[in-house]
């Protein structure tokens, strides 16, 4: 009997072995390395030198890009949080208020469709089509007689960060609308009916009933936006490479440059660890203090 139990457990582990092997090789090992290598100063192929917490000290206290990059990252993330918690929710509510299921489905599909465009292509389309000198924005300004407002949106230090932010305007494509829509659809019909009986409709119903009942969706999007916002740098790399100068540098991009341009692998690992700790802290705060609808109901 004991033999049988052992062979049963053994079979189970044989079947999940590929999962465990991949997890430990390609996720846990890099995580461990990220921490251990951040204590060294090394280039690929040369001697590494133990520096203790030196990389962290240098990054936090004497790296000239630290504060500007944190500021840019904060601004980009804050903007995204404001936008993603409001506009898609309103649009989802508008779609949800339509009278026929068919039209609701059509709009959901339309707003989702842009997701087929690869992220890189989207950034490049905005760069080439909207912001270039002969681009949609500048040509429209010229056409309506505002030619002195035209500029290199991504090369002008005053507008570069703003130009990165508004990519994706009007911010309703993608998954957010669908997530909020799912939340609105799950509001029980008797809640809606009793609201209508009480005369609670329109904007009042939206704020009193709908928003509190989609809190868990809002929380999900908030957490996702913050996590993405803190580590996003591909878009900045594609659009401005952090420039002009360091006007749009973000911490992730600085990590990338240190690793792959300046060959400072240990320093790059340290930046990665700092970002990870920031993301972890913010996520824990979010989970703890931003209560979702279910938790409010349970009286937690």
């Amino acid at each position: 009997m004991k033999q049988e139990k052992f062979s049963f457990t053994f079979t189970c582990y044989v079947i999940i072995l590929p999962t465990l092997a991949l997890l430990f090789t390609f996720i846990y090992l890099p995580v461990v390395w990220a921490f251990s290598r951040s204590l060294y100063d090394f280039e690929i192929g040369s001697e590494s030198r133990f520096v203790g917490l030196g990389n962290f000290g240098e990054y936090l206290f004497s790296d000239p890009t630290f504060w500007p990059s944190m500021l840019h990252m904060g601004a980009l993330t804050f903007f995204l949080v404001c936008v993603r918690l409001t506009i898609p929710l309103v649009v989802a509510k508008l779609i949800h208020s339509l009278s026929t299921e068919k039209s609701r489905y059509v709009y959901r599909t339309i707003f989702l469709a842009p997701i087929v465009v690869p992220g890189v292509a989207l950034q490049l389309i905005w760069m080439n089509l909207i912001y270039s000198d002969v681009g949609l924005l500048n040509e429209t300004l010229r056409a309506i007689g505002l030619a002195n407002f035209t500029q290199g949106w991504l090369t002008n230090p005053d507008t570069a960060l703003l130009a990165i932010m508004v990519i994706g305007f009007p911010f309703v494509s993608g998954i957010d609308v669908l997530i909020y829509y799912a939340g609105l659809s799950s509001i029980p019909e008797d809640v809606n009916e009793s609201c209508a009986l009480e005369g609670c409709v329109g904007i009042r119903k939206f704020f009193r009933i709908d928003v509190p009942l989609v809190l868990s969706q809002l929380k999900l999007i908030l957490i996702l936006t913050i996590i993405n916002g803190l580590q996003a740098f591909e878009n900045v790399y594609i659009l401005t490479e952090g420039g002009p100068g360091y006007e749009t540098i973000v911490p992730g991009l600085w990590m990338y440059y240190n690793a792959f341009k300046f060959q400072r692998m240990g320093y790059a690992c340290a930046i990665g660890v700092v970002l990870f700790l920031m993301i972890l802290t913010l996520t824990i705060i979010n989970i703890k203090y931003f209560r979702s609808a279910e938790e409010v109901k349970e009286g937690a």
């Binding site: 457990t9 079947i15 999940i16 590929p18 999962t19 465990l20 991949l22 997890l23 090789t25 390609f26 996720i27 090992l29 890099p30 995580v31 390395w33 990220a34 690929i44 649009v91 508008l94 009278s99 959901r108 339309i110 707003f111 989702l112 469709a113 997701i115 087929v116 690869p118 992220g119 890189v120 292509a121 490049l124 389309i125 905005w126 089509l129 002969v134 681009g135 949609l136 040509e139 009007p170 309703v172 998954i175 997530i179 799912a182 809606n192 957490i223 803190l230 740098f233 790399y237 992730g252 990338y256 690793a259 792959f260 790059a268 690992c269 990665g272 660890v273 970002l275 990870f276 993301i279």
Partner: protein, 316 residues
């Protein structure tokens, strides 16, 4: 509940405005595929010249008029030819951007297809078999295994980017397909296990019981019970995964140090940074071509696509 009609009209109006704003960049891109750099320099807002020519010639066909027509080529030279010749010239004119872009993108596209398909197959095999064991059997250490799978969601990409590169380099996988496929499977399986597990756990135990009584082993149960019952959840996982792999840009860009295995996303970026970016028409055609495979998937499987995206959002 009846709503006043004007309310619906207002809703439609607002939504249509938002939808057109959202789609504007893409419509402009689609329009500019067929315009040459020269046309673009002359005027920004315009319909492709080649299309105007095609419409003109088509009108001749429709009215049964077989007069000769004047064809204007890319460089402004005029020539009078008959309508069949004019038609084929305009077609050539219109498709020069796309065909040039395709010749640049073809190797990237092939790499993307190979990597996406291998990753999707790998994630399905590895993820579903692990989820099957985790959801249907109690064995020593099950909770530990599940928690070690779940807790990987805690580690953001930014933490592991540099060490993963060091790892792949040390394993000697740089400039190979494995450098992309293996890490993609490793991270893609996590959410797949999550999705598969909750689906498999909902299947009735009687099915498994009777299969076991009939003498089926794990493989028999997997092939005869799990697979036929789980087609919808497999399609969701596959779509989620293809979407993820197709959009990966930075990782392929980093691990292809010699540039031989670039995928569509990193290839587009390389293209945009090269001399070819001077030719607008070529670039717009390239953006459009890179979107076609997912567009086909989207049209063909809208519903699993929607479900795949919303369950993909769980991945933090």
């Amino acid at each position: 509940m009846r709503r006043p009609r004007y309310q619906n009209v207002v809703l439609h109006a607002v939504l249509i405005v938002l939808a057109s704003l959202t789609l504007t960049p893409f419509l402009f891109t689609a329009n500019n595929i067929f315009r040459t750099k020269k046309e673009f320099d002359q005027s920004f807002f315009s319909f492709p010249d080649a299309f105007e020519g095609l419409i003109e010639v088509s009108a001749l066909y429709l009215t049964g008029n077989d007069d000769q027509v004047e064809v204007v080529d890319e460089f402004g030279a005029r020539e009078i030819v008959d309508r069949d010749e004019a038609f084929s010239r305009y077609i050539d004119y219109a498709q020069q951007g796309p065909s040039k872009a395709w010749s640049v993108l073809r190797p990237f596209m092939q790499n993307s297809f190979l990597v996406s398909i291998c990753t999707a197959i790998g994630v399905c095999l590895v993820g579903s078999s692990t989820a099957y064991i985790l959801s249907r059997y109690r064995f020593a250490g099950r909770e530990v295994v599940f928690m070690s799978v779940l807790s990987t969601m805690m580690f953001p990409a930014v933490l592991t980017l540099v060490p993963s590169f060091l790892l792949v380099k040390e394993l000697g996988l740089l400039n190979s397909y494995w450098a992309m496929i293996l890490p993609y499977i490793a991270s893609g399986q996590v959410i797949a296990i999550f999705v598969f597990r909750s689906f498999f756990a909902g299947l009735p135990e009687e099915l498994f019981e009777s299969a076991r009584i009939d003498g089926a082993g794990h493989l028999g149960i997997y092939l005869n019970i799990i697979l036929p019952l789980s087609k919808p959840v497999f399609s969701v996982v596959i779509i989620m995964n293809v979407l993820y792999t197709w959009n990966q840009f930075l990782w392929p860009f980093i691990v292809n140090t010699d540039g031989s295995k670039h995928v569509i996303a990193s290839g587009l970026f390389i293209m945009a940074r090269s001399q070819e970016a001077e030719d607008y028409s070529l670039m717009f055609a390239a953006y459009s071509i890179s979107s076609i495979p997912l567009l086909i998937l989207f049209i063909y499987a809208t519903k699993p696509f929607m479900r795949g995206i919303t369950s993909g959002a769980l991945k933090a």
